[in-house]
C-alpha cells in the first residue's frame, strides 16, 4: 500500500455476524482497523460452519465468512482481554452492533462511554415498532421487504434473490449512513446512533414498484405485465441463455435489433417491423410479450453466447449472455482489468480467487488481506 488510505487511523469495532459484516469489510479494505469481537466459540457466523454437519451448508457458511471478513482482525471476548476491549470501546470511531450479537443490548452504556463514536445498530426490523422481536432470516426479510414478490414466474411462487442478498443490501446502506455520519462527527466532534432496519433497506430497493402503486394504483407483478417491456426477457441461445433489454427508451437498441434481424434475413423482421411495436404501452402487455417471444426465440437460438456479446458490442444492442459463475471468473473484460484477487484462506491452505474492489481509485488506496484465522 503506497498511499494513505481513507480510513487509515480509524478504528471500527465489529460485533456483527450477518447483516453488518460486509459493511465493516468495506471500511477495512479502505484502511480502517476493523476488529471483530467474538466469544471463544465464535460469533454466530463462525459457529454456523463450525457446528454444521451438512457439508454443503458448512461450505457455503465458510465461504460467506471468508468473503465478508477479509481484511479484518479478531479479538476473543474473555476476561483476559477485558481491559483491551474496554479501551477499544472508549476510543473506537465506529462501533457496529447487530441484534442477537455481543453487546447489542448495551447501546446506551456504550454511548455513555464513548459519545463521539458512530454506533450503527443493524437488525431485521429496527429499534422500534411492533415487529422488532420477530424472528427473521434472509427468506422472511426478502418477503417482508417486498423484493421476493418482484421476481419469479407468474404460474408458480415468487422467488427470492440468492446468496443472502438481504444482508448485502443492509450492509451497503449501513456503510453509507455510517460513513456520512463519521464525516460529520469528525467535523463537529459528536457521535451518532444509526438504527438500520433490513426490512427497510429492502423496501428502499424495489425499483419503482412503490411509486407505481402510489401514483397509478397498480401493483407491479413478478412477470412484469404492465411495467416491463416485452423485450426484457430471457431466451435460449445456442449454448445457454441470454438476456435482452431493448425497450424504445434505450436509445438505438430496438432499431439496431430489428436491423440485425433484417440483415440476417430472418422472418421475425416482418412482425417486429410493424407499427404497433412503436407503442411503448402496448409493448408492456401480455400479448406483446407472447408475440415477441415467439419471433425472437426462433432468431436468437442460432447464436452462441460469444456471438451475442460480439453483436451487442458491434450493434449497440442492450443484450448479454447469462453467465454462470465459472464464466464470470473467466470473463475476459474482468481479466483485462485485473479484477480478481488471489488471497490465502487458512482453512484451504491455498490461494483462492476473490472478487476485487467494487470500485477503482486513481490512487492506490484499496487493499485486501486474508480473513482472520478460524479453526474448524
Amino acid at each position: 500500500m503506497k498511499s494513505i488510505q481513507p480510513y487509515t487511523g480509524v478504528t471500527v469495532l465489529d460485533f456483527t455476524y450477518e447483516l453488518g459484516s460486509y459493511a465493516t469489510r468495506l471500511f477495512a479494505d479502505l484502511g480502517a482497523t476493523v476488529i471483530r469481537i467474538e466469544l471463544e466459540e465464535g460469533a454466530a457466523d463462525r459457529k454456523q460452519f463450525k457446528d454444521s454437519t451438512n457439508p454443503e451448508a458448512r461450505f457455503l457458511a465458510e465461504n460467506t465468512f471468508a468473503f465478508r471478513n477479509a481484511s479484518k482482525s479478531t479479538l476473543i471476548f474473555e476476561s483476559s482481554n477485558a481491559e483491551i476491549i474496554e479501551s477499544h470501546l472508549l476510543k473506537a470511531d465506529l462501533i457496529f452492533l447487530e441484534k442477537g450479537g455481543l453487546f447489542f443490548e448495551k447501546i446506551d452504556e456504550i454511548r455513555q462511554k464513548n459519545s463521539r463514536a458512530i454506533i450503527t445498530y443493524l437488525s431485521p426490523y429496527g429499534l422500534n415498532g411492533p415487529n422488532i422481536d420477530l424472528e427473521a432470516n434472509d427468506l422472511t426479510l426478502q418477503a417482508a421487504g417486498g423484493i421476493a414478490w418482484m421476481s419469479g414466474r407468474a404460474e408458480v411462487s415468487p422467488l427470492r434473490l440468492p446468496l443472502d442478498q438481504s444482508a448485502m443490501m443492509t450492509s451497503v446502506y449501513a456503510a453509507v449512513a455510517s460513513a456520512a455520519a463519521f464525516f460529520d462527527a469528525e467535523k463537529n466532534n459528536n457521535g451518532h446512533l444509526i438504527d438500520v432496519s433490513a426490512q427497510e433497506c429492502i423496501a428502499h430497493s424495489l425499483q419503482n414498484a412503490l411509486q407505481v402503486y402510489d401514483l397509478e394504483g397498480r401493483i407491479s407483478s413478478r412477470d412484469g405485465e404492465g411495467t416491463r417491456d416485452a423485450t426484457e426477457d430471457i431466451f435460449l441461445c445456442k449454448d445457454g441463455h441470454m438476456l435482452l433489454a431493448s425497450p424504445l427508451s434505450l436509445g438505438p437498441s430496438w432499431g439496431s435489433l430489428v436491423a440485425w434481424i433484417k440483415e440476417a434475413g430472418h422472418p421475425a423482421f416482418d412482425t417486429l417491423n410493424q407499427t404497433h411495436w412503436l407503442d411503448p404501452k402496448w409493448r408492456k402487455t401480455a400479448n406483446a410479450k407472447k408475440e415477441f417471444r415467439k419471433e425472437f426465440a426462433d432468431f436468437i437460438i442460432q447464436y452462441t453466447k460469444n456471438e451475442i456479446m460480439e453483436h451487442a458490442l458491434k450493434r449497440k444492442i442492450v443484450m448479454s449472455p447469462i453467465n454462470n459463475i465459472s464464466e464470470v471468473i473467466g470473463d475476459k473484460q474482468l481479466a483485462y482489468r485485473g479484477y480478481f484477487k488471489e488471497l490465502k484462506i487458512n482453512n484451504y491452505d491455498k490461494m483462492v480467487s476473490y472478487p476485487g474492489a467494487p470500485y477503482q481509485f486513481s490512487e492506490d488506496i484499496w487493499s485486501i488481506s486474508s480473513p482472520p484465522y478460524f479453526s474448524v
Binding site: 421487504g145 456520512a180 423496501a203 419503482n208 427508451s249
Partner: protein
C-alpha cells in the same frame, strides 16, 4: 420524527448522472444536506423523467414517480453540453464543486471536454466518479447495459432460479437499486474523507459489473475452491427445512416460512399437524427434514392453503416460527403497521404532482427520520445556480438563453 440531517452540509456535487443507478447514488448526498446540482438537458430528457409511472397516469417530465424517488432534494439546471458555451458553464460549475459524477459509457465525458484530465486543470482536488457498466477500459467496455444485463453477466441471473439451467433472474434492475449506487456513494464518501486528510482529490471508476460481482462473493470463492458452479436453490436452504414460500388461501398470496431450529420445527409441526406430527421422529433433526423436503413442504402447504396469509403469519409468529407475508407494494404502503409506526413513508408536496408518498432512507439517526425535500422541476434552478454560484449577471443569463445554451 422528521428532521433535516445535514451531515454533508457544505459539499457541492456537479451531478451529470441520469436514469437509475447514478441518481440513486447522488440522492444520498442531497438527502444528507449536500448541494447536488443535477445537470440536465431538455433536448435529451432523463429517461426516468419520461418513463413513468406518472401522477394519476398522466405523462409529463415533471410528473414521474421514478424520477422523484431518485432525485429528492437536488437542484436542476439545463445546459446544452455539446455547445462550447455550455461546456464552459459546466467547467465553471465543476470548479466550484467538490464532487462530480456521471454514469455515461466510457469516453463520453472526455468527448464533452469534461474528462478527469480536463477538469483537474481547473479543479485539482475534484473527486470524479464515473460508473459505466464494465469500466472505462477493456475489450467489452463499450457494451451498453442496464441493471438486468449487469445481473446477467455478473452471475446473478443464473443463480436467481428455481432450478439449474433455467435462469429466471431478478424481476427488477436490481444492481441499480443497491449494489451500484451504494458502493458508489461509499466510494465518494471515502474519497471525501481521504481529501480531508491529504488535500487530494481522485478519480473513481466504478464498473457496475465489478461492483455487482461483490454481491455474489461467496459464490466466487466457492467456485475458486471447488471448480464447480454453485447450484441455484430457489427459496430453499441447504441448512434448514422447511424453508420456502407457501401459497395461502387468497389468490396469489404467499407466506415465507423457515424453521430455523428444532424448536421452531416442533412449534410449526404442532400448528400444522398437531402432536402427532411434532412427535414423528422421522422429521426430527435437520438432516432428516432436508432429506424429506418435498414431503414436509407438502404438509406445510396443505395447512397454509386453508388460511389467509394474515391468519397464517399471525398464527405462526405467535408460536415463534420465522415467517412473514410475501409483501407486494400495496401491502407495504397500506397494510404494514410496523413501517407506518417507524415513519418509513413521507408525504411531500410538489408543484405538479401534488402530495405523493416517498420512501424514507432506511435508517433512523439519533431517533429521527431524515426529512426529504422535493425533487426539482426540469431546469428549475438554472438561473439561480448561474447567478448565485457561477456569478453570471442577468444580462449574461439572458444572452445564454437566447443563444440556446440553457436548454
Amino acid at each position: 420524527m422528521l428532521k433535516n440531517i445535514n451531515f454533508l452540509d457544505g459539499i457541492r456535487v456537479a451531478d451529470f448522472c441520469w436514469a437509475g443507478a447514478g441518481p440513486f447514488c447522488t440522492k444520498v448526498f442531497s438527502d444528507f444536506g449536500a448541494e447536488v446540482i443535477k445537470v440536465e438537458s431538455t433536448e435529451r430528457v432523463d429517461s426516468v423523467r419520461s418513463g413513468g409511472p406518472f401522477k394519476d397516469g398522466i405523462p409529463g417530465i415533471n410528473r414521474s414517480g421514478y424520477f422523484a424517488s431518485r432525485n429528492s432534494g437536488k437542484k436542476s439546471i439545463t445546459i446544452d453540453l455539446k455547445s462550447d458555451e455550455g461546456r464552459k458553464l459546466a467547467l465553471r460549475l465543476i470548479e466550484k464543486s467538490d464532487v462530480m459524477t456521471n454514469n455515461f459509457g466510457p469516453g463520453v465525458m472526455q468527448r464533452l471536454g469534461l474528462g478527469y484530465e480536463d477538469v483537474i486543470k481547473i479543479k485539482p482536488d475534484i473527486i470524479d466518479l464515473s460508473m459505466p457498466m464494465y469500466g472505462q477500459d477493456g475489450p467489452n467496455s463499450s457494451l451498453l447495459g442496464v441493471g438486468m444485463t449487469i445481473s446477467a453477466v455478473s452471475g446473478l441471473t443464473g443463480l436467481t432460479a428455481y432450478a439449474s439451467a433455467d435462469p429466471v433472474g431478478p424481476g427488477t434492475h436490481y444492481p441499480d437499486h443497491a449494489a451500484n449506487p451504494y458502493h458508489s456513494a461509499f466510494a465518494i464518501l471515502s474519497a471525501l474523507r481521504h481529501r480531508r486528510i491529504t488535500g487530494r482529490g481522485m478519480k473513481i471508476d466504478l464498473a457496475q459489473v465489478e461492483s455487482t460481482v461483490n454481491f455474489l462473493g461467496p459464490a466466487i470463492i466457492n467456485f475458486a475452491v471447488t471448480g464447480q458452479d454453485p447450484r441455484p436453490i430457489g427459496n430453499r436452504s441447504v441448512s434448514q427445512a422447511p424453508h420456502n414460500l407457501f401459497r395461502c388461501k387468497e389468490s396469489d398470496s404467499w407466506c415465507a416460512i423457515a424453521a430455523q431450529s428444532e424448536n421452531e420445527w416442533l412449534a410449526l409441526a404442532n400448528v400444522i399437524g398437531g402432536q402427532g406430527l411434532a412427535n414423528n421422529p422421522s422429521f426430527h433433526g435437520v438432516q432428516n427434514r432436508l432429506d424429506k423436503t418435498q414431503e414436509i413442504e407438502s404438509l406445510v402447504s396443505d395447512w397454509t392453503r386453508q388460511h389467509t396469509v394474515s391468519e397464517a403469519v399471525s398464527i405462526l409468529q405467535k408460536v415463534g416460527v420465522t415467517t412473514a407475508r410475501v409483501a407486494c407494494s400495496k401491502d407495504l404502503l397500506t397494510d404494514d403497521l410496523h413501517l407506518k409506526e417507524r415513519e418509513f413513508w413521507q408525504k411531500i408536496d410538489h408543484p405538479e404532482m401534488g402530495i405523493t408518498t416517498f420512501t424514507s432512507p432506511p435508517y433512523v439517526i439519533d431517533g429521527n427520520r431524515l426529512q426529504l425535500k422535493r425533487p426539482p422541476l426540469i431546469g428549475e434552478h438554472t438561473d439561480a445556480v448561474l447567478r448565485d454560484i457561477l456569478g453570471c449577471t442577468d444580462e449574461e443569463i439572458r444572452s445564454l438563453n437566447s443563444a440556446g445554451v440553457l436548454k
